[in-house]
């Protein structure tokens, strides 16, 4: 396998792929022309206002809407019980019953008898405007009888803990083990020269995409059809789930995701409001809509992370790790949303990181609490896994007495070991982890940084320097359908694409992957244009509407390019195959003697007799002179099911400066070297790394969904929930190293989640590195100034 720094050279193309290209999506987004859900308006629409529980756990004794009904524009107030007939037995779906005995409590869109978390919907107001809906919801009075709340996940599994769901008799949803060889693990620990044992807490995060959620459900009264507009990442999955939940025939449902302002996984769901608005619209025969407010989003939309991790490494004298043992407690929140239970599993295969470790033991127990449900959030399980192993590797380095880079080098999966079968049973596709690390070390100028660090330490400076490494590998390109089946996931992992050539040789691509900020339109047009030898601007990419793109599995898990893009690539090949037959017919040549050069078929070596693509397109359309038996038109459809995951990897290095007087942490340098395989548009890759790194650094330093002991959430607005801005972003220095994935024809892997996965441990490792001479070995996330200062103060013998 060859490796190079220039992504373009790998793609063997003189075209657009591998070269930076501005995103065609951006002008409409930047000028406000793009239409989001809240920009819509339908004749006769009514607004929904949702009354949300102010209690973490309480019996609902009654709902009094009389004051709300006094308000101009409020037409109805409906309790959960009033609404129950609309969905009958249908509860919100969980598509991932990870074990056969998983406990999954019925989850109604609006609670009828018990509210289980702050933000749980308990009543609904219908009104003629959004303002009246908000005024009405505020005026509804709900009579609660409070019940004890379970907030902390460790407390939830303690004896005598109050129960979130009384009828289940336990707060545990499931326990999922992955322990291929328990005896070998025990033996490795028994014989280890070094054992590292750590406990880490993954705080809950609020996804906070720029656009909150919103729904408009429009009924066709005569046709019995439902058009559901939603700010969703998954129109296709939402369509199936709405059909199943409400019993509306699937062919009568159309789901449209208009411009969607980010999701980060939180719009990968089937939410109460989608089902509620759909059911009401079908029942009342008018469009029904809801727009989420920012503070509503803090509790009505899923949260991410929420785990307590115990990780142990057993290593020999040299620090070569022989076994890893992990026990996880994962916070499900009050209910299981679409893929809630599966999130810890996505990390469950990766707690050995990018290291060649022989023996593996992973066990996850998932727990209900009286809080907003958790679910997939950028990286979903893999950031948590990477954090645990990368933090533990630094502890091991200290125990063995070597540098963080040395401990990693001693344990990396070797470049010649690919395809590599991991101790957790995955086949890693390609990589050269050592070369990636070396490059990062060189870019970071580590010798100089360490010299400054030593000087500051010697001087007792109040600006201490820390260096943090994070070497990661992720499994993405979700996913081979059969593997998903083995994990009990309720759907496949394929993706669909249609490539349609129009009579004038313009091209329409229909993709089942649903962009919400990733730039599919740009990337897909580059792929098709290069293959057909045409201009990317002549390729239109259609998506996100099940009437236009009926088949698809949408966007999550860094799957778009490696699965959806591959489908586009293969469909274009099919188009070319048919075009070749038409050209051969016209040239009266054997198709095997033809080559496709600069957008035209010619007999090999004879450019004088060439049939340009445009001529073939037109001939396919007129069908005047096609080969015998050939169908008119030039169009191909492909559904691609990947044979394996892809395994992006990289090493990131954060350099921080800690103000020891205040505890303030400043990221003074950040180097990211990623291997996402071949790159279609390096500018998009770089953008994904930038945003991802900041989102990962946000978990390390800023973001925290804070709950009080009785289950009240404190961080409901962006003043208290600290999403960092461009001003807080480090000055990234980004590079790539390419080992093409052998799994798909383009050799691509995925980059959507990499930065988020890598950055969190890099930053915390750097903070701990800065403070280690003081005896500090861990700092809780987020490492806020107060948290860091307290750690310093305690280490120096001060009061906590």
């Amino acid at each position: 396998m060859t490796m190079t720094d220039d992504p373009a050279t790998h793609l063997d193309s003189a075209g657009h792929m591998g070269r930076p290209r501005l995103r065609r999506e951006d002008p409409a987004l930047l000028t406000g022309e793009a239409q989001f859900i809240d920009d819509m308006s339908l004749h006769g629409e009514i607004w929904v206002g949702i009354v949300r529980s102010t209690e973490a756990h309480a019996t609902i004794l009654g709902v009094d809407g009389s004051a709300a009904l006094e308000i101009d524009g409020v037409t109805e107030v409906l309790s959960g019980a009033d609404l129950a007939p609309l969905w009958g037995e249908g509860a919100l779906p969980c598509a991932w019953p990870v074990t056969d005995d998983m406990r999954n409590p019925a989850h109604l869109p609006v609670a009828t008898s018990v509210a289980k978390y702050v933000g749980d919907a308990v009543a609904v107001v219908l009104a003629t405007s959004r303002y009246a809906a908000a005024d009405g919801a505020a005026a509804v009075s709900v009579d609660y009888d409070p019940l004890p709340a379970v907030v902390d996940i460790e407390a939830a599994v303690a004896d005598g803990a109050p129960l979130v769901h009384e009828d289940l008799g336990t707060n545990e949803s499931y326990t999922w083990p992955l322990i291929p060889n328990p005896e070998a693990v025990d033996e490795a620990f028994a014989n280890a020269a070094h054992v590292v044992s750590e406990r880490f807490v993954q705080q809950r995060l609020i996804p906070a995409p720029m656009e909150p959620r919103g729904v408009v459900a429009a009924p066709g009264v005569a046709s019995g059809e439902l058009t559901l507009y939603s700010a969703t990442q998954i129109p296709h999955i939402l369509k199936v789930m709405t059909a199943v939940t409400l019993g509306i025939p699937e062919h009568k449902i159309r789901v449209v995701a208009p411009s969607v302002g980010g999701g980060f996984g939180c719009k990968l769901n089937v939410y109460a409001e989608e089902i509620l608005c759909s059911a009401l619209a079908m029942d009342r025969g008018v469009p029904v809509r809801w727009t989420e407010s920012r503070s509503e989003a803090a509790t009505a939309t899923i949260q991410g992370r929420g785990q307590v991790q115990h990780i142990e490494l057993a290593a020999d004298d040299n620090g070569k790790v022989q076994a890893v043992r992990v026990k996880l407690l994962a916070d499900m929140g009050a209910y299981l949303q679409l893929v809630t239970p599966g999130v810890p599993l996505l990390g469950g295969f990766l707690y050995h990181g990018c290291y060649d470790i022989a023996h593996y033991s992973f066990e996850c127990t998932s727990v209900f609490t009286n809080k907003t449900p958790t679910d997939a959030y950028r990286g979903a399980g893999r950031p948590e896994a990477t954090y645990a192993v990368e933090r533990a590797m630094d502890s091991l380095a200290v125990a063995v007495g070597v540098t963080p880079e040395e401990i990693r080098s001693r344990n990396f999966i070797a470049a010649d070991a690919f395809p590599y079968e991991s101790c957790a049973g995955l086949i890693f596709d390609s990589g050269d982890y050592q070369t990636v690390l070396d490059k990062a070390v060189e870019m970071a100028g580590l010798d100089g940084v360490r010299a400054t660090q030593a000087q500051r330490r010697a001087d007792g400076s109040n600006r201490q320097i820390g260096v943090g490494f994070s070497s990661y590998v992720e499994m993405c390109g979700l996913a081979p359908s059969r593997v998903l089946a083995s994990l009990n996931y309720g759907a496949g992992g394929w993706e669909a694409a249609t490539v349609r050539v129009l009579p004038t040789a313009k091209v329409q691509v229909i993709t089942g992957s649903t962009p919400h900020g990733q730039g599919h339109e740009t990337s897909w047009s580059m792929i098709v244009a290069d293959k057909l030898g045409i201009d990317p601007d002549d390729v239109e990419v259609l998506h996100s509407d099940t009437a236009i793109s009926p088949t698809g599995l949408d966007t999550y898990g860094s799957r778009s390019l490696s699965v959806g893009g591959t489908a586009v690539f293969m469909a274009t090949d099919k188009v070319l195959d048919k075009a070749r037959l038409i050209a051969a017919h016209q040239l009266e040549a054997n198709e095997d003697d033809l080559e496709y050069v600069d957008g035209a078929f010619q007999v090999k070596g004879t450019p004088t007799a060439a049939v340009p693509f445009a001529a073939i397109a037109f001939a396919a359309f007129t069908a005047h002179d096609l080969p015998d038996g050939m169908e008119p038109n030039l169009e191909a459809h492909v559904t691609y099911d990947p044979p394996n995951f892809t395994f992006p990897n990289g090493t990131h290095i954060a350099v921080v400066e800690v103000d020891t007087d205040t505890g303030d942490v400043d990221i003074v340098d950040y180097v990211a070297v990623d291997d996402c395989g071949n790159q279609v548009n390096p500018m998009i890759v770089e953008g994904q790394v930038h945003g991802g790194v900041l989102q990962g650094a946000a978990q390390a330093l800023y973001e925290d969904a804070v709950y009080t002991e009785d289950g009240q959430i404190v961080t409901v607005n962006l003043g208290d929930y600290l999403v960092p801005s461009a001003a807080e972003a480090p000055a990234y220095r980004v590079a790539s190293h390419v080992t093409p994935s052998p799994t798909n024809p383009m050799g691509v892997k995925g980059i959507g989640e990499a930065g988020t996965i890598a950055a969190t441990p890099a930053v915390i490792n750097a903070v701990v590195d800065a403070l280690r001479p003081m005896g500090i070995t861990d700092v809780a996330m987020p490492a806020s100034p107060q948290t860091v200062w307290r750690a310093i103060n305690e280490a120096q013998g001060g009061a906590s």
Binding site: R130, Y131, D135, S293, T662, L701, S725, P785, Q786
Partner: protein, 272 residues
């Protein structure tokens, strides 16, 4: 969140605004830049039933110098303070503090009169006016009165303004020596967790977010006046204060920060 309903009036002059305030009583609120009031209305922490918009009174947007006093119209935007050459020359602390308020969008809307009237102990410009020993000019039904900044902030989000008074002007002495402002926050756009303003080489020292109002650190000022070192003076910064506790900082940590940043500010202002 979206605000409760309200009536909206446009003031044609300061006098008109004052008359409208008198007419509607305590149900009415002036609307200047709206960057404190509207967020509070969206959270329904404020539910005025009448808004009197003074945001278009451009005759109250000015920065003048006269005889060692700088007069600033109440509707002057933070960004105008930030970029004022006159301030850069004659009272650089005002320009420099204004540049640290929120983000560019906030600075293009928010006004000096608004931030003073709002009397948020966590705001930046009130502390600067306080350290500089400024004066606030309020217009009421019976004319103008001057209120010393030291008498202006009376409680948590409360000022000496009457319900029917409007700030029309803020005056600060020209002062370009021995000043510094330290703002400690986690994100550039945020309010200070703790802030310290030093004017006149320590003759004026004020604290942000260390109590229910912007505060003069009189113990620090006295120590500096009696020749104490910056370190010794700064050690007194939190003396007797009851700072708030919130997600970013509890009271003890705030006291510590006040000492750290007072020393840094004094040092930067030339106090050794």
């Amino acid at each position: 969140m979206i605000p409760a309903s309200f009536d909206y009036e446009v003031a044609e002059s300061a006098e008109h605004a004052v008359a409208l305030l008198a007419e509607h009583g305590d149900e009415a609120k002036l609307l200047a830049g709206g960057h404190s009031l509207i967020p509070m209305m969206r959270f329904r922490l404020a539910t005025p039933t009448v808004l009197v918009d003074v945001g278009r009174l451009d005759d109250l947007r000015y920065i003048n110098a006269d005889n060692g006093t700088i007069s600033i119209g109440a509707l002057t935007r933070h960004s105008e303070l930030e970029h004022s050459e006159l301030l850069a020359r004659s009272c650089p602390m005002m320009a420099s503090v204004a540049a640290l308020v929120g983000d560019p969008a906030v600075r293009h809307r928010g006004t000096l009169g608004g931030t003073l009237a709002h009397s948020d102990p966590a705001s930046d410009l009130p502390a600067a006016v306080l350290a500089l020993g400024g004066t606030i000019v309020a217009r009421g039904p019976s004319g103008d009165r001057e209120i010393a900044a030291t008498d202006f902030f009376t409680g948590y989000f409360e000022s000496a303004l009457a319900d029917d008074e409007m700030i029309v002007e803020v005056r600060v002495p020209a002062s370009d020596a021995g000043w510094n402002y330290q703002k400690f926050n986690r994100r550039a756009q945020d309010w200070a967790i703790v802030g310290v303003a030093v004017a006149d080489a320590g003759a004026g020292v004020s604290l942000v977010n260390m109590g229910s109002t912007p505060l003069r650190a009189s113990a620090v000022e006295a120590a500096v006046a009696s020749g104490a070192s910056a370190a010794d003076a700064a050690a007194l910064a939190a003396e007797g204060l009851q700072p708030p506790s919130d997600l970013n900082a509890d009271a003890d940590y705030r006291r510590h920060l006040a000492r750290v940043f007072t020393q840094r500010a004094l040092n930067a202002a030339g106090v050794a």
